[in-house]
């Protein structure tokens, strides 16, 4: 609840006069809305708005964002159900819809739409209805596709309201009805534009029963052929424009998609715009204009583009309009309906003045300026034919006259009221003037309306009416023409009213008395007119005025007048801008011209006020919320409020019979009526403004297209230039091509001649060749024949040769036979002779046989038998022999094979042997190496031993020498004893030895040494040998180091070899055997020899030993004395010792 209270406070603060506070509160609300998703705040806002119709709240509500739309719509729907709040709800809805919120597509789904439709169907309040219809019209283009489901509702509403206009149920004020008419008219356009087929069919079905609507049907029946549009992909403004395009109302139709040419023209001659519309200008518009949607004829473009030519075009007779459009606009419904009559209304000119497209074209600059300064625009006018000009002005004048009349009818009551309403800002005068303005304006208005009606009507009617109207208004119209810039009917509507206002302000009754006439006239007008009235483009004058800059600027002072007209007010923006910028209005002087003091006063006051306001705005922070449009809205509303206040205060003395006379409404009602009317006008204004915005959107888009088109055109031109250049090139090439062709043909001719020559040559040559070929063939056949013959001959030759050979063979055979036969003959002769001899012998034997006949036969038989036996024997023998032969042959074969096998085996054996040899050699080598090693070892050992011995001897020698000296003495004594003992035995020997001692002692020593060792080997036995060999060796070995070769070769084979042989590892081993085999011969032979020698030696030595021993025993004695050399002494000593021992041993 606190929040609720808070909101209430905030809401009240919204309307505070402090702008800053207002903005802050607005911001707070917006924040809340963005954060809060609940419906409460929106509901509160709506409630508050409906109560107070506060502008800031409206602003907030119209800018609601997506999630709140539903709440808003629901709330509005809720209020829509209540009759009391219906109107304000509708107004709110209108505000919302016109701003085109982002969620506008949701409108069709919202329950609000059906309830709106229901309201329109049911409600009886004209104000509500008018407002609702306008809202609906605004909404329709936003929901083109989804709105289809309500199509019949729309049509029903249309039907109901259109009939309303006619029937006037209840106590509906005429004044309201006008508004209703206007809105229904707009609805008709919208429906027809958007759903032509459906709508037309509806019209047909709906109006078929009513006679007075037959014309209606006729008007629309041709449209039934039109197809439905694909609205879905179009923007809202597109839909609006599309509707306008096919609109029956030429003013609306002519707006869209305008080509700048027409606009420029109209801009160029703004003051003459009315005339222009009736003259060629419209012609061009029809031909180019999208209203007729005819293709843009290129031929016309230059003419329309060049300003110089313009007058001519403009001055072309207006009749052209009637003839041309049907040709150009083939499909245009308005053409078909005969509605092509150029709108005499000036309205369709000004709107185009504001067209931005003019900038695109070159002429734009020149023509753009007049837009800003309409007062200076006249110059082109003189270019026109005076006749034309007059004609135009006249026609325009005639056209405008009826408008005023009719408009007065509708506008009068409110104007009247306004007249009495004082402005809350102390502008009583102005308010009065406003009233007077409207009053004075009425004829113009009526004229407009009439002209519109005329345009819809058939030509005859038009002519008649215009005549009629012209009569009424000539007085008014004529003086206006010379006024130049302000002679447009529009100005007559607004400005001209101002001067009149001065005198009319004073006498409201007078004006009132003036008014009834036109009103009556319009009311009195025939019934058939009324339906047309529904189609009257109520907005025409104002639409035109709003679009025209001149009009807009000039109209500012006469703002209220324009409000009277149900057109959307486009002035505010310009005015706001103008004041915002602080510029002094450039049209001030015009007012002075047009208006007397009052007007000037009004204008100056107003401007001051607005300047103040603008300054205030600027001073504060130039609040963007206060857009010029809104300012205008606010102004209107405030004006309305002021009015109502004033009215309530006033006693309304002037409300006399006049009032009730035509309105028929009581004064108390008047206030409400006026207020309502103001409201309605405001609604209409908003609606029209919305429409204009859509137009502006579309214009911008089209401008873009035009720019693009211009660029493309430029490019086209450039490409054309290029094309021309290329064509030139092509021509040059063509010329050269021709030249080349000529040359080529020449060359070909030459070539042809050459070719023919060559051909003939070829032919000749071919002929020759054929001849030659034939000849050669003949020759070849001959050759072949010859070859055949030769072959045959050869064959024959061969045959002959063979025959010869054969015969030779035969000959040799024959000769052989001959020789044979000769030999046979000889034999035969010999045999014959033998035969003869044998015959003789036979005879002799026969004789003998006869003699010894008996014995011989037996003998012969025996012999025969013997022979036979012998033969058989021989035969069997032969058989045996042959058999033996066979067997032996077989045997030979076998043996041969055996031999081969054996050979093979032998080879294998050899191989094997080789292998074995190799193996053996390997082993042997190992053994050999071992042997070698052993040899080395022994050598080393020997060396070592010798070394040791050497050392030993070195030590022992000194000792021995000493010992020997002592021993020698002893030995001498002993020897003497021995000698005495043994003298008997060895005395002769001793003597011999002693005798030969000197001579033999040296040669014997080696031999003796040998002998001693040999004797040991032979007789000493193996047991002693090994033992004794060690002491024995030293002498040998001592020789070794001096010369081992001598040692082995000459030295002692007898001693060393047995030792080595014996020392072989083992005689059983293979190596041992081998080694033995290898060494056998040598060793055996040596052994044998040695054996012999040894034995002999031993024998001799044995004998000698005795001598030796005795001798040696002596020698020391002999040698002791002299001591020739130490080595000798050594050896001798050694030998002696050994010998001594041995001898001693043997002897013992």
């Amino acid at each position: 609840m606190a929040q609720q209270a808070n909101i209430g406070e905030l809401l009240s603060m919204l309307d505070s006069p402090m702008l800053s506070v207002r903005d802050d509160v607005t911001a707070v609300f917006k924040e809340n809305l963005s954060s809060d998703r609940g419906p409460m705040l929106v509901n509160t806002l709506v409630d508050y708005y409906l109560e107070t119709s506060s502008q800031p709240v409206l602003h907030i509500l119209t800018t609601l964002q997506e999630p709140h739309d539903k709440h808003l719509l629901d709330k509005m729907n809720e209020y829509m159900g209540k009759a009391a709040s219906r109107l304000s709800t509708l107004l709110l809805l209108g505000h919302v819809v016109r701003l085109q919120p982002s969620w506008k597509h949701k409108l069709s789904q919202a329950p609000l739409l059906p309830s709106l439709l229901k309201c329109l169907k049911v409600d009886t309040d004209v104000v509500v209805l008018t407002t609702g219809v306008l809202v609906l019209i605004t909404m329709l283009p936003m929901i083109p596709q989804s709105g289809k489901q309500h199509l019949h509702d729309f049509f029903d509403i249309f039907g109901r309201l259109s009939s309303w206009c006619l029937k006037k149920p209840g106590h509906v004020t005429e004044i309201y009805l006008v508004h209703l008419h206007a809105s229904v008219y707009a609805l008709f356009h919208r429906l027809y534009g958007m759903y032509p087929c459906n709508f037309v069919s509806f019209l047909r079905s709906h109006y078929s029963m009513k006679e007075n609507l037959e014309t209606f049907e006729e008007v629309v029946k041709d449209f039934s052929l039109r197809l439905d549009f694909g609205w879905k992909r179009l923007e809202t403004h597109d839909v609006v424009i599309e509707c306008a395009k096919i609109s029956l109302d030429p003013t609306e139709a002519s707006y869209e998609d305008g080509y700048s040419v027409s606009h420029q023209i109209s801009a160029r001659f703004p003051h003459r715009s009315a005339d222009v519309t009736a003259s060629p200008y419209v012609d061009t518009q029809n031909s180019y204009g999208p209203a007729a949607s005819t293709p843009y004829p290129a031929s016309r473009l230059p003419s329309s583009n060049t300003p110089g030519q313009l007058p001519r075009t403009l001055s072309s007779p207006s009749t052209r309009l009637l003839t041309e459009p049907p040709q150009a606009a083939l499909w245009s419904p308005s053409v078909v309906c005969g509605m092509t009559t150029p709108p005499t209304s000036p309205g369709n000119v000004p709107p185009e003045l504001s067209h931005p497209y003019s900038k695109v074209f070159g002429t734009a600059g020149g023509k753009g300026t007049p837009l800003g300064t309409p007062a200076t625009s006249p110059p082109p006018a003189p270019l026109c034919h005076p006749d034309d000009y007059v004609h135009i002005s006249l026609s325009q004048a005639t056209a405008t006259a009826p408008k005023k009349e009719e408009r007065a009818d509708s506008a009068r009551p409110c104007l009247h009221r306004q007249h009495h309403l004082p402005n809350d800002r102390g502008l009583e005068e102005l308010s009065g003037s406003k009233g007077s303005v409207t009053l004075s304006d009425l004829p113009g208005f009526l004229g407009d309306l009439a002209s519109e009606e005329d345009s819809i009507e058939k030509d005859k009617e038009e002519a008649a009416i215009s005549e009629e109207l012209s009569e009424i208004t000539t007085a008014d119209a004529e003086p206006l023409v010379p006024r130049g810039g302000f002679d447009s009917p529009f100005y007559r509507d607004s400005l001209p009213g101002c001067p009149r206002k001065a005198h009319s302000a004073a006498s409201g009754a007078q004006s009132a008395s003036v008014n009834p006439e036109p009103l009556n006239s319009s009311l009195d007008k025939p019934g058939p007119d009324t339906p047309k009235q529904a189609f009257t483009p109520i907005d025409l004058p104002c639409g035109g005025a709003s679009e025209s800059p001149a009009g807009s600027r000039e109209r500012q002072p006469s703002l209220e007048t324009s409000i009277l007209t149900p057109s959307p007010c486009k002035i505010p923006p310009q005015r706001g801008v103008g004041f915002g910028s602080g510029q002094p209005p450039p049209y001030d002087h015009l007012f002075e011209v047009a208006l007397p003091k009052t007007a000037h006063h009004f204008v100056s006051k107003k401007t001051e006020e607005l300047l103040k306001k603008a300054k205030g705005n600027a001073e504060e922070d130039y609040t963007p919320s206060a857009s010029p449009v809104e300012v205008l809205d606010r102004l209107i509303q405030q004006g309305a409020d002021a009015h109502s206040k004033e009215l309530s205060r006033l006693s309304l003395p002037s409300k006399s019979v006049d009032w009730t006379h035509f309105g028929g409404s009581p004064p108390s009602d008047e206030i409400r009526t006026l207020r309502n009317q103001l409201l309605l006008l405001h609604n209409q204004l908003l609606y029209e403004r919305f429409k204009r915005q859509q137009h502006a959107l579309r214009n911008r888009r089209l401008l873009r297209k035009v720019i693009r088109a211009a660029a493309l055109e430029e490019r086209n031109a450039a490409m054309k230039d290029q094309l021309k250049l290329q064509e030139k090139d092509i021509q040059i090439w063509k010329v050269s091509l021709q030249k080349e062709q000529a040359r080529y043909s020449q060359l070909q001719e030459q070539r042809d001649t050459v070719v023919t020559q060559l051909h003939s040559q070829i032919r000749q040559l071919q002929h020759d060749r054929e001849e030659f070929y034939n000849q050669s063939q003949e020759l070849q056949t001959k050759l072949v024949d010859c070859r055949n013959m030769i072959a045959e001959l050869r064959v024959e030759l061969k045959k002959a040769n063979s025959k010869v050979c054969h015969t030779e063979l035969l000959l040799s055979q024959v000769s052989q036979k001959l020789s044979n036969s000769e030999s046979v003959q000889q034999q035969m002769e010999f045999l014959n002779r033998q035969l003869l001899v044998l015959g003789e012998v036979n005879e002799l034997y026969l004789e003998q046989l006869q003699n010894k006949h008996s014995d011989t036969t037996k003998e012969v038989e025996m012999m025969k038998a013997a022979y036979r036996k012998e033969l058989e024997k021989n035969r069997s023998h032969v058989l045996q022999q042959s058999q033996r032969l066979d067997t032996s042959q077989k045997r030979i074969l076998e043996l041969e094979s055996h031999l081969a096998k054996k050979d093979h085996l032998l080879l294998e054996q050899k191989k094997y042997l080789e292998d074995v040899k190799l193996q053996a050699r390997g082993q042997l080598q190992a053994a050999e190496s071992r042997y070698e090693a052993q040899k080395r070892i022994t050598q080393m050992f020997e060396l070592e031993i010798l070394d040791l011995y050497g050392r030993l001897e070195k030590d022992g020698l000194l000792k021995k020498l000493e010992e020997e000296k002592t021993e020698a003495a002893e030995a001498a004594e002993e020897r003497l004893d021995c000698c005495n003992d043994g003298c008997s035995d060895s005395a002769p020997g001793h003597s011999e030895e002693a005798a030969g001692r000197n001579g033999e002692a040296r040669p014997l020593r080696p031999g003796g040494a040998r002998g001693s060792s040999g004797s040991r080997g032979g007789g000493g036995g193996s047991s002693g040998g090994s033992e004794l060999s060690t002491p024995e060796k030293p002498p040998n070995q001592r020789a070794g180091p001096f010369g081992s070769r001598w040692d082995t070769a000459a030295g002692e084979p007898s001693t060393s070899i047995p030792a080595t042989v014996g020392s072989l590892p083992s005689s059983k081993s293979f190596l041992g055997m081998k080694a033995r085999e290898l060494f056998r011969n040598k060793s055996e032979s040596q052994c044998d020899e040695d054996g012999v020698t040894i034995s002999s030696l031993s024998e001799t030595l044995k004998t000698e030993l005795g001598k030796d021993s005795s001798m040696e025993a002596k020698t020391p004695l002999s040698l002791d004395g002299p001591h020739p050399s130490p080595p000798n002494v050594d050896s001798v000593g050694q030998l002696r010792i050994m010998d001594y021992n041995e001898a001693h041993h043997e002897h013992s």
């Binding site: 292998d915 190799l918 193996q919 050699r921 390997g922 082993q923 080598q925 190992a926 053994a927 050999e928 190496s929 071992r930 070698e932 090693a933 052993q934 080395r936 070892i937 050598q939 080393m940 050992f941 070592e944 070394d947």
Partner: protein
């Protein structure tokens, strides 16, 4: 062909793809199964492929010719090609070894404390008749070589008898078979280094290190002692290199030397004095030895062509 047919048919592709040694062991086993070992084939094999260490001693024993005897005693390595006689011959070898060892012990030339390598040396000297009078006799340069090789060999061949024989024969081979070609190797080394990397050679020349490179270590000792002792790397390195030397190509030594220089090019280029270079090259880091060997073999194959089986 016989061993080819038994070999895995994929072996060709293995080699193409770059897997080495997948099929080699198998084919070597096939070769070793022959009753009479084909020495030539074994030679070619060990020239082409690295020998598996388990067969290395056997193959070497077959390939190494130890006896420099005149004609009747040609051929024959430590083991003859006949399997039959292997046992016999091996006993001979063993006996010979023990005999010689015994003899040396008898004359108290060696004792139990004598290092095995010196034992080998004394035995070798004894067998070649060059045993000095005393064990403390100063060593000849060739003895130093022997010792180095024996030391390396000891790591590869476990059995002392085998080791002795193999070492002896290896040294013999160096001294006899390669007597003429070994002095040529430094020249060949320069030539190939020039081909591979002339900048490096010129650097060495500017440092005047060319003549002072450890040629003795490389070519006389066959890189024995080039790597730190008793490392697996060294075993692999020497094994792979000596495979080629044993099977008859001493040129591999040149390529190993070249590859060592190429591998340590950056370091060598950084060193400016001949002493430093020599010092560095005498003790190269062991971690890249594998790569060096394989690259050296590639290099060798590249310059001298892959040895093709002559059979």
């Amino acid at each position: 062909m016989t061993e080819d047919s038994q070999r895995n048919f994929r072996s060709v592709y293995y080699e193409k793809v770059g897997f080495r040694g997948v099929e080699e062991k198998k084919s070597l086993e096939i070769l070793l199964k022959d009753d009479r070992l084909d020495v030539e084939k074994l030679c070619t094999f060990s020239q082409r492929f690295p020998l598996p260490s388990m067969y290395r001693a056997l193959v070497w024993k077959v390939l190494l010719v130890f006896c420099p005897f005149p004609p009747p005693w040609v051929f024959v390595g430590i083991l003859p090609p006949h399997h039959e006689s292997h046992a016999q011959v091996m006993t001979y070898r063993k006996e010979q070894y023990s005999d010689v060892l015994h003899a040396l012990e008898v004359i108290r030339f060696i004792s139990d404390a004598t290092p095995q390598v010196e034992v080998y040396l004394h035995m070798h000297r004894l067998e070649s008749g060059k045993l000095p009078r005393s064990p403390s006799f100063p060593l000849e340069p060739e003895d130093e070589v022997f010792l180095a090789i024996a030391k390396a060999m000891e790591e590869m061949v476990e059995d002392s008898v085998d080791c002795y024989w193999v070492t002896r024969c290896f040294v013999n081979q160096l001294n006899n078979k390669y007597r003429d070609s070994l002095p040529q190797l430094p020249k060949a080394f320069e030539q190939y280094l020039n081909l591979e990397d002339s900048r490096l050679l010129s650097h060495l020349k500017t440092c005047s290190a060319v003549s002072r490179l450890p040629y003795d270590l490389w070519f006389k000792r066959c890189f024995a002692g080039c790597l730190p002792e008793s490392s697996l790397q060294r075993q692999l390195f020497s094994g792979a290199v000596w495979d080629k030397v044993v099977s008859g190509s001493c040129k591999i030594l040149v390529f190993v030397a070249v590859e060592i220089l190429l591998t340590f090019k950056i370091k060598v280029m950084a060193l400016n004095s001949a002493e430093k270079i020599t010092k560095f090259l005498e003790n190269i880091p062991q971690d890249s030895s594998d790569a060096i060997v394989s690259k050296a073999i590639d290099l060798w194959h590249k310059h001298c062509g892959t040895p093709v089986h002559s059979a």
